[in-house]
Symmetry: C2
Subunit: 284 residues, 2 copies
């Protein structure tokens, strides 16, 4: 039986940490504030917005919503973004992407201030995660995976970590963050041969390919710690599943995150903590 | 006997490619121009400056030198950098680092325009190499290693690459560039256990730890391609040596870069090609 690395206690610990910081900020008359810039009415954006808002309000972070119609004029959109950048009372900006096609997403990404980039998508944040400077913010999901490993005291230094997936929101940044903690990283992707051989030889596996239940028994070995970042709806089983075939991996490995209730439960707590961090940095 | 992957033919090919581009630029009345900003009189800076100047002039790239005393006033230094940023006739800026301690290097790095950052040190360039956008420029040595592999037709897709060293000028960027070519990368560093076991299992090895002749027979196996980025003066042998113990690796592997005459022979050609590329991008 593997230890279950649940996300909730990790998120709770992040919240506790935050509450202290928020109290200190309040004493200085500062209310950490997140602006959510959403264009259009995509279901997943709205769901994420709802979750983030709830989480923010629970700890005392203010949320300001800027919702624009899907066919918003380019000028209006960029004026809004500029205003949020310049607004001293806004500490973090969550800009949902992809933007509608008529808006220049690259221009928007470049315009967004790195100091307010709590979702970790600007050049400054990406360079920060690559170089291990403390600039900008790491992508929330990648940091959530790291927070879980840290919370459960998983040793990283000198360990072999296999990362499955090379996306910019999780695979690549989490690989860099593991390396900054002195793990030896191997990044597997669609062109990698013998992925199972690589993962079997690792101490830590981060599964982030987005391929539902694609990692069966042959990918794992005894004593491993597995972080499953995937989350997909399994039509057949009528439930949410990760990239790992849980019932085959769990009896074999030493610790594993559940899906749901693992990484996903930590991601918004990380987002909110970034807003608080941004407010602290600004107040110094 | 391993195939010797010499740098000179690679540099020559880069030069030939450049000459065509320079001709096209000249026809538009544009002379690609590199500014070299040097503070103080460090020997290695001066040596690199001499090599770069020679290489530039050989192909028709103009060099403008801005040399400031080691105790230059901060204001004068930043004014100079700002002027180079704004000068329409300057396409690339090579700013020697580290700067003297009284100058804010981080501020300088942030001020340098990404479009003129031919040495690949700005956030924009680092994010570019991490994300594989075409923004900025890759660090020259990392790209030199890639140019050698490309020139000699080494297949990268689906191959295992072990990178030894995680520096920002070579280890990390070359790992990302290999991954963008669909290699499966493992980054080894000082905290990695059993480095030899990892490298023996790789198809391609990039040695970039800077530890002279630290990689003996046990690190290699048959059929491998080895790129040796190290270059150190061996007092005992009275010659330049790489990170690889050449006489032990060479009989075993399938191909290897010599030191000197390998990666080092390609680096300045890459720098010059970045200046030409910057001029082309600007002329579009």
């Amino acid at each position: 039986m593997a230890e279950l690395l649940k996300g909730k206690p990790v998120a709770d610990a992040i919240n506790e940490r935050m509450k202290k910081d928020i109290k200190t900020l309040c004493e200085k008359g500062i209310t950490p504030t997140l602006a959510i810039l959403r264009v259009g009415e995509r279901d997943d954006d709205i769901a994420y917005e709802r979750g983030a808002t709830k989480r923010c309000e629970a700890v005392g972070v203010k949320v300001e919503k800027r919702t624009l119609p899907a066919d918003v004029d380019e000028k209006i959109f960029f004026n809004e973004l500029k205003a949020l950048n310049e607004d001293e009372k806004i500490h973090g900006i969550l800009m949902f992407q992809p933007l509608p096609k008529h808006l220049d997403e690259e221009k928007a990404r470049k315009m967004l201030l790195c100091d307010k980039d709590v979702d970790g998508g600007t050049d400054g944040s990406l360079a920060g995660v690559f170089t291990n400077s403390k600039e900008g913010f790491a992508p929330c999901t990648a940091q959530a995976a790291m927070e879980i490993l840290k919370y459960y005291g998983v040793e990283l230094s000198g360990k072999k970590a296999a990362i499955i997936g090379r996306s910019l929101v999780i695979g690549r940044p989490v690989a860099m963050m593991l390396m900054h903690e002195n793990a030896t990283i191997t990044i597997c992707h669609t062109r990698t041969k013998n992925v199972a051989e690589i993962t079997r030889g690792a101490d830590i596996i981060v599964a982030a390919s987005g391929q539902m239940e694609s990692l069966g028994r042959e990918y794992f070995s005894e004593g491993q710690v597995v972080v499953d970042v995937g989350i997909s709806w399994n039509e057949k089983k009528q439930k949410l599943c990760g990239d790992v075939l849980f019932e085959e991996a769990e009896p074999l490995v030493s610790a594993i995150t559940p899906v749901p209730g693992g990484v996903g439960a930590v991601t918004t707590a990380v987002l909110v903590s970034h807003v608080v961090e941004a407010a602290i940095k600004k107040s110094l």
